[in-house]
C-alpha cells in the first residue's frame, strides 16, 4: 500500500512538472506582460518597463525562467517553512498573498456544486433506471441531452438575467396566481405518478393527490405571505421530522424492522426537543457552536443506535445518524429562514445577488451573513452543477441498469429478498463503483467551468485569477492557477483509486 502511494505520488509529481513546462511555454511565448506599459504615455515609460522586466525577470529566456519558477514552487513542498514563492503579478503583488482568498472562494463554489450534482444526479439516475422507459425517464433523458448541449456561459447568463432578476421582482409582490399553482400542481402530479407507478387506478390516484397537495401548499404559502416571512414552524417541523423517520427506516431497513424504527424515532424525538430547546442558543451562536452541536448530535445518535441493539446494530446506528443529520439540517434551515426578513430589508428587497461573493458593508450575526453567502452562491452553483448533473444522471442510470442485469441480482431476487433490499443493498453499492471514477474526472471539469461561471457572476476566485492573468499576459497567476488545479485533479484521481479499491474487493492496490 505504502509503495503504491509513493509510486503514484512520484509519477504525479513528474506529470505536473512536465505539464507545467508545457503550460509555461505556451503562455510565456504568446503573452506580452508589457502590453499595458507599451501603450502608456507617462514620462518615465522606459523606467517602468525596466522595473517590470526586473520584477518578472523577463530578460531571462522562458525555459530558464521556468526553471526559476519551478525552484520557487518546489519550496511550497517544505512543510511549515512558509518559503512558498510563486512569483509576483505585473502589479507587483505576491501571488502567494492573493492565492488563499481566491482559492477559498472557488473551493466553496466547486464543493457545493459537486456535492449537489452527485446527490441529485445519482438519485435521479437510480430512479429513472428503476422506471426505465417511463414518461419520467424519457423526459430526464432528453433533459440530460439538452444540458449536455448547453454551454456553461449561456446557462449562467440566463440564470443571472431571468432567475435572479425575475425572483427579485417576484418578491416585490409575492403572490402566486392561481393558474401558476395549477400548472405546477399538474407537473408535480405527472412526476409523482410516473415515479410511483402501478396500475392505472393507482397512477390516477397518485396524480390527483400529489397535484392537489402541491397546488394547495403553493396557494397557502402565497396567501400566508410565506416568501417574505418564511419559516417551517413547529407543526411543519413535526411533520417533516416524522416523515424523515419513516422514510429513512423504510428505505434502509424496512418498517417491519422494529429496532430500526425505534432508534430512528428516538433520534427524531430528540431532534424535535432540541429544536424547541436550542432556539435561544442559536441566537448567539457562531459557526463553532454549530459544529460542536453537530458533532454531539452525531455521537448521541450513534449511541442511540447502539443501545437500541437488536441483531444489526450497525444498521440502527446508520439510520439514526441519517435521521439526525436530516433533522439537524431542517432545524438550521428553519433558523436561517427566521433571519430572512432582516436580510431582505438589508438588501433593499432584492436579495438574490448577481455579482460578487458578498454584499459590501453588510453587518449582522452569523445567520444574516450566512444568508448573504447563500444568495451569492446559489446561482453560480446552479450554473456550475447543471452540466455535471447531466452526466451523473446518465452514468448512474446506465450503471444501475447494468448492475440490475447481473446474475447476483437475480440470485438475490430468487432467494426472496424484498425489492428494497435488492436495490439498496445489492445494486446501489455496486453502482457506486464506476461513479467514483467519474467524480475524479468531474472535479477537473468543474474547476475549468468555474472560469466561466466566475467571469459571468464576477466572483473573485481562482477562475478570475486565471482569466485576468491570461488576458493581461501575466504569467505567474496563470501558473499558480494551473498548479492548484493540476494538484487537485491528481489528488481526486488518487482518492478515486482508493475509493475504488475500498468499494470493489476485486481491485487490489499494489
Amino acid at each position: 500500500m505504502a509503495s503504491f502511494i509513493l509510486r503514484r505520488l512520484l509519477v504525479s509529481v513528474l506529470i505536473i512538472i512536465a505539464a507545467s513546462f508545457l503550460m509555461y511555454m505556451l503562455v510565456a511565448y504568446s503573452a506580452d506582460p508589457l502590453q499595458d506599459l507599451r501603450g502608456s504615455n507617462s514620462p518615465n515609460k522606459t523606467q517602468l518597463i525596466n522595473a517590470r522586466i526586473q520584477l518578472l525577470q523577463l530578460d531571462v529566456a522562458p525555459p530558464l525562467r521556468w526553471l526559476l519558477w519551478l525552484g520557487g514552487a518546489a519550496k511550497c513542498l517544505i512543510p511549515f517553512a512558509n518559503a512558498c514563492d510563486l512569483g509576483s503579478t505585473v502589479s507587483n503583488a505576491k501571488v502567494t498573498d492573493i492565492l488563499p482568498q481566491a482559492l477559498g472562494s472557488t473551493v466553496q463554489l466547486v464543493t457545493f456544486a459537486l456535492i449537489l450534482a452527485i446527490l441529485l444526479g445519482v438519485t435521479i439516475g437510480i430512479v429513472t433506471a428503476l422506471r426505465q422507459y417511463s414518461g419520467l425517464d424519457n423526459v430526464v433523458t432528453f433533459l440530460s441531452f439538452f444540458l449536455y448541449s448547453l454551454p456553461a456561459f449561456l446557462v449562467a447568463v440566463l440564470l443571472k438575467e431571468f432567475v435572479a432578476i425575475g425572483f427579485n421582482n417576484f418578491l416585490a409582490h409575492p403572490t402566486i396566481p392561481w393558474w401558476v399553482a395549477v400548472l405546477i400542481g399538474l407537473v408535480a402530479g405527472l412526476i409523482w405518478q410516473s415515479l410511483i407507478g402501478g396500475d392505472r387506478r393507482r397512477r390516477l390516484l397518485t396524480f390527483v393527490i400529489s397535484g392537489v397537495a402541491t397546488a394547495g401548499v403553493l396557494l397557502l404559502m402565497s396567501a400566508m405571505n410565506w416568501f417574505l416571512m418564511p419559516g417551517l414552524g413547529p407543526v411543519v417541523m413535526i411533520l417533516l421530522i416524522a416523515a424523515t423517520v419513516i422514510g429513512a427506516t423504510a428505505l434502509i431497513s424496512g418498517l417491519q424492522n422494529r429496532r430500526a424504527l425505534i432508534s430512528a424515532a428516538i433520534a427524531g424525538a430528540i431532534s424535535l426537543v432540541c429544536y424547541f430547546a436550542l432556539q435561544p442558543l442559536f441566537d448567539v451562536s457562531t459557526i463553532g457552536t454549530i459544529i460542536i452541536l453537530a458533532i454531539v448530535a452525531i455521537i448521541v445518535s450513534l449511541a442511540i443506535g447502539w443501545f437500541v441493539g437488536g441483531y444489526d446494530r450497525g444498521q440502527n446506528m446508520r439510520i439514526s445518524v441519517i435521521v439526525t443529520i436530516v433533522s439537524g439540517f431542517l432545524i438550521i434551515v428553519d433558523r436561517f429562514m427566521q433571519a430572512w426578513p432582516q436580510y431582505f430589508q438589508d438588501t433593499n428587497g432584492r436579495p438574490i445577488a448577481t455579482v460578487g461573493s458578498s454584499t459590501p458593508g453588510l453587518e449582522g450575526d452569523m445567520w444574516v451573513t450566512g444568508l448573504d453567502t447563500f444568495t451569492h452562491l446559489v446561482l453560480p452553483t446552479i450554473a456550475l452543477l447543471l452540466i455535471s448533473f447531466a452526466s451523473y444522471t446518465r452514468y448512474s442510470r446506465a450503471g444501475m441498469l447494468e448492475v440490475l442485469n447481473q446474475d447476483f441480482i437475480r440470485t438475490a431476487r430468487a432467494k426472496g429478498l424484498p425489492e428494497r433490499t435488492v436495490v439498496v443493498r445489492h445494486a446501489f453499492r455496486n453502482m457506486l463503483i464506476p461513479i467514483t471514477t467519474l467524480v475524479a474526472f468531474d472535479v477537473g471539469a468543474l474547476l475549468g467551468g468555474a472560469v466561466i461561471t466566475e467571469r459571468v457572476f464576477a466572483i473573485p476566485g481562482m477562475g478570475s485569477l486565471f482569466n485576468l492573468g491570461l488576458s493581461r499576459g501575466d504569467l505567474n497567476p496563470v501558473m499558480a492557477y494551473f498548479l492548484v488545479i493540476a494538484a487537485m485533479a491528481i489528488l481526486f484521481n488518487f482518492l478515486a483509486d482508493l475509493a475504488y479499491a475500498a468499494l470493489d474487493p476485486r481491485v487490489r492496490v499494489r
Partner: protein, 337 residues
C-alpha cells in the same frame, strides 16, 4: 465483440440471406434510428442554409447584407422584415452575423474533430500495438496533456493562436484534444492485437503498419467514429466558450460565443441579440449529440437493446445477461469522454 457477433447472427438467421457487410449493418441500424437521422439531416440543412445565405469566402450568397457592412438602424434594430434577426448596436445585419457564426462553429467543430481523431488514433494505435516502453512513454505524455482541463488549455491555446483565424485556432485546439480518443483506441488495440486474425496476418508476413491499418484499425473504427462525433459536439461548446471569454475567434470575424459576449450587456433592452446565437449553439450541439448517440447505438446494439422491464417479464429466457460481458469499445466511448 462476441455479443455483436451473436446479434449479427440473429439478424442473418434466414438461411438464404445474402452476405451483408458489417458496415452495411451498422448503416442500416443507424437509418432505423429516427431521431439520429432527423438530426443529421437537420444539421446538414442548417449548414447548407448558412453557406447559401451569406456565401463562402469570396462567393456571395442570396442574402442582401453581409456580416461586415454597417447599415442604417431600422426600428432601433429590432427584428423586421428587412432584418429578420434584427441589427446589433452599430447596425450590422444580425442574420448575416449569425450565419457567419454558424459557419465558423461548424468549421471549428470539423477541423478540431478531424485533427483530434487522427492524432488520437495514431498515438493510441502505436501505444496499444507495440505495448511496453513505447506504450508507457506515450501514455505518460497523454497524462501530461490530460491533467489540464480542456477549457483551461483551450484558453491558453486560443490566447496564443486565436489571432490567426478560425481554421488555425481549430487546428491548434485539435492538437490538444486528442487524449480521450488515444486512450480509447489504445484499449481497443490492446485487446484486438491478441486475436487470431492478427496472429494469422503476422504469420503471413504482414508488416506492422499493414497489421495496424489494414487489420486492426477497421475493427476499431466504431470507437473512433463515435468518440470523434462526441468530441465534435464538445468542440462547438468549447469554441463558443472560448470566444465568450475572448480567447477564441477575434473580431472582425464572428462566432456565436462572441456575439453573446459582446451583446450580453444589452440583454434587457435587445434580447434578440442574445437569443439567436444562443438558440443556434444549443441546436447545433444537440443535433451532433443525437447523431453521436445514434452512431453509438448502431455500432453497439447491446447498448440500446437492454430493457429492464422486458428482462423482468421474461427473466428465465433472456440470453443477453451473460454475467459480466465485456463492454464493447463504443459503449466505453461514453465513459471516457
Amino acid at each position: 465483440m462476441s455479443v455483436n457477433d451473436t446479434r449479427i447472427a440473429d439478424e442473418l438467421q434466414a438461411p438464404s440471406a445474402p452476405p451483408v457487410s458489417q458496415g452495411k449493418l451498422v448503416w442500416k441500424r443507424f437509418l432505423s434510428n429516427k431521431v439520429a437521422v432527423a438530426s443529421a439531416i437537420l444539421f446538414i440543412l442548417i449548414l447548407l442554409f448558412s453557406i447559401s445565405a451569406i456565401g463562402l469566402g469570396p462567393i456571395p450568397g442570396w442574402w442582401k447584407y453581409n456580416y461586415t457592412e454597417l447599415n442604417d438602424q431600422v426600428q432601433q434594430g429590432s427584428p423586421t422584415w428587412e432584418h429578420p434577426f434584427g441589427q446589433d448596436r452599430i447596425g450590422k445585419d444580425y442574420f448575416a452575423l449569425t450565419m457567419r457564426g454558424i459557419q465558423n462553429s461548424i468549421l471549428v467543430m470539423v477541423v478540431l474533430g478531424l485533427i483530434a481523431s487522427v492524432v488520437g488514433v495514431v498515438v493510441g494505435a502505436v501505444a496499444g500495438y507495440f505495448r511496453g516502453v513505447v506504450d508507457a512513454i506515450l501514455m505518460r505524455i497523454t497524462d501530461v496533456f490530460i491533467v489540464i482541463p480542456a477549457l483551461v488549455i483551450g484558453s491558453v491555446v486560443g490566447h496564443a493562436f486565436g489571432g490567426l483565424g478560425a481554421f488555425f485556432l481549430a487546428l491548434m485546439l485539435g492538437f490538444f484534444s486528442w487524449m480521450g480518443i488515444a486512450r480509447l483506441v489504445r484499449g481497443e488495440f490492446l485487446s484486438l492485437r491478441e486475436r487470431e486474425f492478427v496472429e494469422a496476418a503476422r504469420v503471413a508476413g504482414a508488416s506492422d503498419a499493414r497489421i495496424i491499418f489494414k487489420h486492426i484499425l477497421p475493427n476499431a473504427i466504431g470507437v473512433v467514429i463515435v468518440a470523434s462525433t462526441l468530441i465534435m459536439a464538445s468542440a462547438i461548446l468549447l469554441e463558443t466558450a472560448l470566444s465568450y471569454l475572448g480567447y477564441g475567434i477575434r473580431p472582425p470575424d464572428v462566432s456565436l460565443g462572441l456575439l453573446i459576449s459582446s451583446n450580453q450587456s444589452a440583454f434587457q433592452t435587445r434580447p434578440w441579440l442574445f437569443w439567436w446565437p444562443g438558440a443556434f449553439i444549443v441546436t447545433l450541439a444537440l443535433l451532433v449529440n443525437f447523431v453521436g448517440d445514434g452512431l453509438r447505438d448502431a455500432f453497439d446494439p447491446r447498448h440500446r437493446r437492454f430493457n429492464l422491464r422486458k428482462m423482468r417479464e421474461q427473466e428465465p429466457e433472456e440470453g443477453e445477461g451473460d454475467g459480466r460481458s465485456p463492454k464493447t469499445g463504443a459503449a466505453l466511448a461514453e465513459d471516457v469522454l
